[in-house]
Subunit: 121 residues, 2 copies
Amino acid sequence: MQDSLSQTFSALADPTRRAMLARLSQGDANVSDLAKPFLNEMSLPAITKHIQVLERAGLVTKTRDAQYRPCKLNKDALRDVADWMEQYRAFWEASFDRLEAYLKTVAPKKKPRGKKNVRKK
Amino acid sequence: MQDSLSQTFSALADPTRRAMLARLSQGDANVSDLAKPFLNEMSLPAITKHIQVLERAGLVTKTRDAQYRPCKLNKDALRDVADWMEQYRAFWEASFDRLEAYLKTVAPKKKPRGKKNVRKK
DNA sequence: TCGTTAATTAACATATTAGTTAATTAACTA
DNA sequence: TAGTTAATTAACTAATATGTTAATTAACGA
């Protein structure tokens, strides 16, 4: 058995499942609602399995309403991912700043004073 | 062949690989540097494979320096994940605010992060 | 040149994932 | 009650992921 963050990332590593989450972010939906966009690509049991993966990952909670199974997005697991990402925010934002800084040196018709490769060791 | 966001999430769905990224966020490292914390759990070829997964996902770039293979973190793939997350930000932040509001009405002192199943970091 | 270190490749075992079709459960409705 | 709809379970297949050990490649340094 995996740790839960791994399970969450694993569940996110599939476009069908991410599309389901996107759908659920618009509002709760039954299994058949979630299935509809994919029934030309795969069977209903396949859909059931995808939803089960999302459930086990804690991303989705499925309840019962007569013969329907309303599903809702579960914020906690998404927040765990966001929290993990947070430790890298400075990192990827820095590179964006660097790109922006670079573009500023280039866009004005000034001579780009580029010194890129610093030899290590 | 998978879409690239799926490949990235898939690469993140492993604690060994996430630990490698954490290490690389502190600075570039050779394969053997990355391997060191794990050599009691798995073999060097296993490490090589993990790094290859990170490379294919675009999360890591490996270069050459004599017999060494310095690796560096690649911000772009991380940013892709962050961008995807962004569409859900309002969603999980809303629920956090709700929790915070709730906790303020109940226990104005502490603010525990409640979790259904134990999520290991 | 020889031995050592760094890292990869090859070949293989095993587990997990993602899908299938067929059967089943459960609740509604005419 | 019989038929229909919603969804799951069972049994199976094929592909991919993750690890192993043994062999190999490549560069350094005494």
